[in-house]
Amino acid sequence: MSTATIDVHEVPTGSRVNYLNAQYGVKSWLLTTDHKRIALLYLASITLMFFVGGFFAVLMRLHLIEPQGALVQPETYNKLFTMHGVIMVFFFLVPSIPATLGNFLVPMMIGARDLAFPKLNLLSWYIYVIGAIFTLYAVISGGVDTGWTFYTPYSSSFSHTSVVPTALGVFITGFSSILTGLNFVVTIHKMRAPGLTWFRLPLFIWAIYATSIIFILGTPVIAITLFLLFLERVLHIGIFDPAIGGDPILFQHLFWFYSHPAVYIMILPGMGVMSELITCFSRKRIFGYSFVAFSSLAIAIISFLVWGHHMFVTGQSIYAGLIFSVLSFMVAIPSAVKVFNWTATLYKGSISYDAPMLYALGFIGLFTMGGLTGLFLASLATDVHLNGTYFIVAHFHYIMVGGAVMAYLGGIHFWWPKITGRLYPDGWARFAALVIFVGFNLTFFPQFMLGYLGMPRRYAVYPSEFQVLNVMSSAGASILGIGYLIPLIYLIWSMRYGPTAGPNPWGAKGLEWTTPSPPPTENFEEIPVVTEEAYDYAHSTVIRG
């Protein structure tokens, strides 16, 4: 892409003014409106939440080594899986890629100096932090035991734990998502560089755009739902509890109307990252650009119409079940189209095995498994048996951890040199990708089998015939935990000791790679003019540096 050539090769990072060294001091970070600095604020916050949530998962898996429970009382176990779910879903997975990589990359990829509303962007982060504080307070003040799904009337009338602060935290954080989504939509519509038409946009932008639409349309519904829960729990207004005139199933309709699209909030940005990684490391234009782009929008739209597949066994009518089943099968198709197109992109490419690519390949494998096992749950006859068992747990972890977290880590490794201006040790990074892939499969594959054998989820104790598979899963979890700690260590190490990265260490296309690493506060000295398609590797010489 034609931009002002930036002569950065000879200038060492330290002596050039960039967004990291433009200002110093805590205040310069806490009051920044620079999208790149806000991305780093998010990165630090969600990393903290990821390891808090992960710590609960480790305790759970340790507890389940023995059928009668090895570690804690059932009440405590119930709090562990609840806090694990709440923190991972609302405070890590939902904001993960959009708030970190999205914040950093959306302006850079479209040739803008910042998001449309920089102050709103900072406000979003503060809202996220306030929400997180409420929820962490709930953890410290005794925890909450409703499951991350907050099903009524247990959550509204029966649980004696900190339901209100937890739900309030989730409620507040939702506004952060709404504002971030709004900011992205406006930015992508109004601030694209001259010549950057919709069909020249990197697919990451399409994915973030589709995600933003779900943020804006879906998040208010969870806010309303939690508000109604609050009304019932605190003011005893009968909404969900049948003892005071409510309908408990209504809660599930409202909850899943947001929370199923939220699954796509988690996976769509990951798919966007995938398109960037696959193209860069095979030096190919994406195969079927418009199919990949529109499949993101198709997923975003259909995702709003499938919530009832969480409720096949609640006693909802057979005919409603049929409709939700057929729609759930439909949402599988655009996902399959993406996987086929990524695979075809590799054909006759020039494929390298850098660490981000290994994460990308891990994504394809795990996401394919996760997506196909979704068919078991869209199929009414098998869902009856599998609903509420470990099969469900395995399925959504393959999507959310195998898919979304793999893509997130792949993206972090890919743009790390751009974000920090430093390179991390590639060998360690590849090793970590492998450890995570192995650990993940060992943790969650046995859970598919446990599910079909009939072990229900959320069991603090279990019949002893399930022990072997549970021990395998726990062993896998310990490997997985180590796999996640390795990148934490070498990435932090690299910020200080890593070799200096050039502007484009992967020889990647895209406007963000035309800037120095780390970029200056204003991103581009001159707003670039775009004259070519995305991923046009075939018509330029590749310079890694």
Binding site: K284, I364, L372, L375, L380, L453
Partner: protein
Amino acid sequence: MRGLLQFGSVFFSLAIQAPQLRPEAASSIAEGVDHLYFVLTFITLFFTIAIFSTIFVFMVKYRRRADNEIPVETEENLPLELAWTILPTLICAGLFLWASSLYFENSRPPSASTEIFVIGKQWMWHIQHPEGLREINELHVPVGVPVELTMTSEDVIHDFYIPAFRVKKDVVPGRYTSLWFQATKVGTYHLFCAQYCGADHAEMLGWVYVMSPADYETWLSSGTPSQTMVQIGEKTFNKLGCASCHVSEGSGRGPSLVGLYGKEEELKTGEKRLVDEAFIRQAILNPNSVALKNYPPIMPTFRGQVDEEQVLQLMAYVKSLGSEERDSNGK
């Protein structure tokens, strides 16, 4: 294609024989569900392996040989795009039709089935047989006879799950859900609560005893209860003074209940409602919401005076007053 099908059938026959891969199949629907499950497993493995081996071949064949290598652009290929959009659509359509018709069959109880009542309660299962026998966390059923469960909850949402039968249904407070099965093998099987319900959710377990018809008869008579559900219901009916308004000749302040069950009645609101189990429950606990057209809405609520078990017993009694062809067990 032929080889693929053969491979599929070998895979299927191996999978279905491996005891570690599936729970015991002890109901009339279990084999059908397992069949679908293993076909889905085959599809999953087939596509995962196909995609992964394709990627693997590409990774080796097209590995980067020189740092400045620039591959040639691949043309867009519309037929290929359409093919891999349409093929998954067809597979999904086929699976949907198969799974849905199976579900449709599995959801409909045969008309002549034994009715048993289930009440979920933190953290135990109350079972009530029409003959009056009551059990906790145990359910005895005869082999080869369709059994229909009518279920409700005293507190939060539970879920009645028998893995060996491949059946599961939420047990929801404030409404009735139902589930049916026909056991095919004598034996003892797990009963789990599959909807998280609080502290001792994981201890809300029980056993289902499938017995030969003869053993079942012995079991039924051994614990001889003094009264059937209908008789207990009638006693409650009289104790609560229901009979003072619901006079059987129809001359009381409320409608006669004789022959009422199963009829369609017009409400004050003009709405027509079928008098079914849900209706009777509502009429006892929230009477004015279903007040009938020609009667004053003066019935007091019995919420708090009767628990779910008594509601079921009252219902059994009301059903026993039903039309002539119904026998005294309310069936």
